[in-house]
Amino acid sequence: MNATPSLPIKPEPASQQRSDGTLPDAIATYGLTKYYGDRAVVDSLDLRVPHGSVYGFLGRNGAGKSTAIKMLMGMVRPSHGRATLLGEEIDDIRPETRSRIAYLAEGHPLYRWMRIRDAVRFTRPFYPTWNDELLEQILKHFELPLGAKIRRLSNGQRAQVSLALAVAPDPELLVLDDPTLGLDTVVRRDFLESLIQIIHRQGRTILFSSHILGDVDRVADRIGILVDGALRVDCPTDHFKQTVRKVLLEFASTPPELAPCKGLVSGQQVANRLELIFAGFGDEQRQAVEALSPVSIDVVELNLEDAFIEYTRGTKRALPVFIQERSDAQTTSSQGAA
């Protein structure tokens, strides 16, 4: 019953997404693959991030998001395939082009011995388009004094410094690897609001990976989902939410097996109920479930987080913590009957 996630939400050709038909995609990968030993951490990744879009790059832990981003940024060498950033091959990217790209690595690495002022002094000379006014605005907004030592800052403040340093060169492309990881809810929200302001203010291309689906839902106009290193979803965020459906079938007795069906991602039997996850629930799928003659059919719309979880978790479910309670209850009732 538990089918492996298929490829029902296919990438659209990049050429169809561009309105003017002239700009190349800000990010394009062609069969990008990385092996660690025998394991393909990223497997034939064909990713297209159009200019001006905010792309949420999703996946569970170990799905290959960070490795894919590091390959894009030239930190990890691909085993196969190639990629372009702002139209240039990543292997031969010129420093002038690289200066138009900002990268926030996971964990916000900064030199801890520096003060914020030192970090600014260190970073500024690399970028001809450095915008001091913007930097001051961001630091002021986050209430970060230039004299503060980086090692004394909290995780959230270091994230803010990293964001300020990344945005100050006025980059065309911003790549953020799990920028809100480890931040508390308030700081995360503040960080995200700032990011949204930057997006609206400058209309730049942003690729960011995240575990916080609420964040992605608020910001991203397009998402890609990596499952075991392969890109399974690449579509507008709303399209994904509208496509993934949970179908609950109630039966009078033990549910029958559902035959393989187009769009079926996974299925789970819970007592007399069958929970099915579909990517695309149309007439064909409805006929297939009706053929099982259930007592009731309930089609549930999912938010992004639920859709992501149902789409990516496969056969795994929560720990059966209530088994013990149930057996306890049964013991109690039998004792009562006696």
Binding site: K70, G74, M75, Y103, P109, L110
Partner: protein, 229 residues
Amino acid sequence: MLKQLAVKELRETAGLTVLALLAFFVLVTHETGFSLLNGPTDQFSIGWRSGTIPFVHHDFLIIFSLISGFFAILLGLRQSVWESISGTYLFLLHRPLSRARVVGVKLTVGVLLVLVCCGVPLLIYALWAAMPGTHASPFEWSMTAPAWNAWLVMTIVYFGFFLSGMRPARWYASRLFPAAATCFLVFLSVILFMEVPWWNGFVALATVLLVDAMLVAVILHVARTRDYS
């Protein structure tokens, strides 16, 4: 931007450099017999560790080599491994500058630190020894050659350990191979200097520079091709 990189390297290695300079200071003051607390301690105006001939007795060369060696080893590792451990390669290497230039600045600063920090105390000691009236023993500049040989060879030690720090391999496996190879080369150089008459001057210099060049080429290749994950 190269200046910023150089300043960063100097700042990050300042602690090690100060420690090395302190050690050399103690060594040189001891060898010249000059006591910080009591001033000149011997019959000569500046002082001298009596009974020893500068640069000829082996204590100086051994201690100088140990201090220089430790400094070169720690500096090489500090500049390469530390960035990996703290994850700052990810902050540094995506800047709009070729990787070869970033690593080149590191190596330039590092090797200059080794040469200057080890060379200046040696030069001071040699100048003191060459100064008439400072010690009751003969002195020829050629007597300083083994020490200069050790000084020069420290560049190989530095590059070797930098390469070990840079290579992404297991520490208990092939990662320490460059370090072990450089230690062997240093040992060989000492043997050659003591036993083989032609191993001096330009031959030693040319050999060390050749090995240095090879190590730098390998370091730049590793820096360009390794994964920073």
